[in-house]
Amino acid sequence: MLTNPQLNQHGELQHLLTIEGLSAGIIRHILDTADSFVPVAERDIKKVPLLRGKAIFNLFFEPSTRTRTTFEIAAKRLSADVINLSIGASSQSKGETVLDTVNNLAAMQADMFIVRHSQSGAAHLIARHVAPHIHVVNAGDGRHAHPTQGLLDMYTIRHYKRDFHELRVAIVGDVMHSRVARSQIHALTTLGVPEVRVVGPKTLLPTGVGKMGVHVYHDMARGLKDVDVVIMLRLQNERMKGALLPSAQEYFKYYGLTPDKLAYAKPDAIVMHPGPMNRGVEIDSSVADGGQSVILPQVTFGIAVRMAVMSILAGK
């Protein structure tokens, strides 16, 4: 159980489960490939025939219209056949396990599974049990990883800032429960970003997060000082109920990104958010819609990055 299940015996990417353990080379290769998919979206025919005849199954055990739609668009732009499965609580309560569902589908000539699940490690479990020709892409597993989001965030940063080796990046908010944050931290440290910061109240930062190679701040003024990139994480409503935070208002006052807090960062700093946004909770509308926000381009880049990931995997 200690061999990296993402790579095959030649060290090539067989599945995309987590950014942790990927070399900078593989990450850059994915970003470079994504470069070539961006122009496809600008043509009339927004398709290339690369994955024609391949069947890609969106297995969403945890609902998400946005992510699922992005993967669907990306797959269709590669001319693949896409089947969407929202496995709701009903089939799970009928006693069908994750692996039961996967086994049933594998019999339907699937080439690739895009998997989202509420439990950390679900994508790894599926990858360990599928037939060798099937590729698994993790679209988010519990709090653990959301590698395509991490990659598109890196693509976005590279697009606006060029060189990773000179940057200060701050990730703000509920890092404890965020698979996006974990993926971003792995990607940023692997790509050689010299200063990665996490900013949030103690209740929202996991134990030993410093060991992942980040600097910990509990104060926005210090945490955002002179950063080049500000990444805001979504704050779920449940956090107020679990004795982690008293209220959205207090959170917004101390940790919400407003113009005056953004002013601590460099004047040309970019503002990112994986979405969906809770306006007025973690981010002020004026910042979300303002000149430094690159939140909408993130979405476009997300399609190209997912096309790149699927193409690279499907070719193995």
């Binding site: 159980m1 396990t97 994750v98 439990q119 950390s120 790894h124 709090r143 996991p206």
Partner: protein, 431 residues
Amino acid sequence: MKIHIKNGRLIDPSNGIDAVQDLFIAAGKVLAIGQAPQDFHANRTIDATGLVICPGLIDLSARLREPGFEYKATLESEMHAAVAGGVTSLVCPPDTDPPLDEPGLVEMLKHRAKSLNQARVFPLGALTQKLQGVQLTEMAELHDAGCIAFSQADAPLTDTLVLARAMAYAATFGFGVWLRPQDAFLAKSGVAHDGEVATRLGLAPIPSCAETIAVSTILLLARESGARVHLCRLSTREAIAMVAAAKEQGLPVTCDVAVNHLHLCEIDIGFFDSNSHLMPPLRGLRDRDALRQALRDGIIDAVCSDHTPVDEDAKLLPFAEAEAGATGLELLLPLTLKWATEMKIPLAAAIARITRHPARILGLDAGHLTPGHAADLCLFDPERAWKVEAKALKSQGKNTPFLGLELQGKAVYTLVDGHVVYENAGVARHA
């Protein structure tokens, strides 16, 4: 049945023996050690060349899954696993279905176990009714039915007033109270040690203080009530320090460690290996090292298997949803030997921690080989290497973090009450 066991290396920590000695058995008891008694004609002679002869192992925690969880395992399979592992006495926790809170259930279990003529079973009775932590059980009745002590298994007992009274009531009769220290609120929905690995993998954490806060509460209430407390499955170095201090102050507390925790730590979760999903969780490297030393130094009194067979489907789930536990009866011996070898601890001291010390904790006259006493023996080959795989395990539980690995040490003959209840002569080396 008269049995003569010859040429084996007899190790009995209780009597200070570690030498090649012959052993003679008759009428279910050890008759003599060393010299053959007069007019002794063996019905059976066992050549134990190359084998170690020690008291049968006493396992302080083995779940047999009956009654109620027969789809995970049955008495037949698990009792067979016990003797295959050289275990001649085992303690089973009360978390069966229904839990062991009624004398009738206990009697039935004891009767069933006895009729199988394999290892001896010492059930723990439920400390509270249905293990719910509200009402006391009829501890005296349960004791008469055969319960050796009382426990909450892994069920939480959050009401400290109930805990205090349960301990006081048990103390009235001198009954032992066995508790696994875990604060239910701090551990709620946690599945892995609150450390680097849980942070990286995004697994809900159980902090070390969930154990230490519970240890603190239990030790203070033990002092108040005078109850004999046994702390089950310590996992943190901080708890070890607290127990050491309590013992120094003369508190009659004992504790054990699960054999997996002597070897593994959080890193062994790897890429979400659900076989490493255990309770208590595998902690940090420093905790593991502290446990290894504490068992050597005597702060931890004994090591047990914490045998918990889980059906395969329950492990083929995402880590947090997978059922916690590992099969262990057949791994207790080799893993204890591995610890001893790595820590450079003499074999006799290692054997004491799975025979003499558990007997002392249980208040049993057992775990030794003395003429006139019951002949419960384990004859094992310390050199024999074997691969831990499904077909090698007699238990229905094939779930262990050691699956696929090679271990050294295997029981060749196991005797209970002077009868050979297990033999694997194909394993023995011949003179």
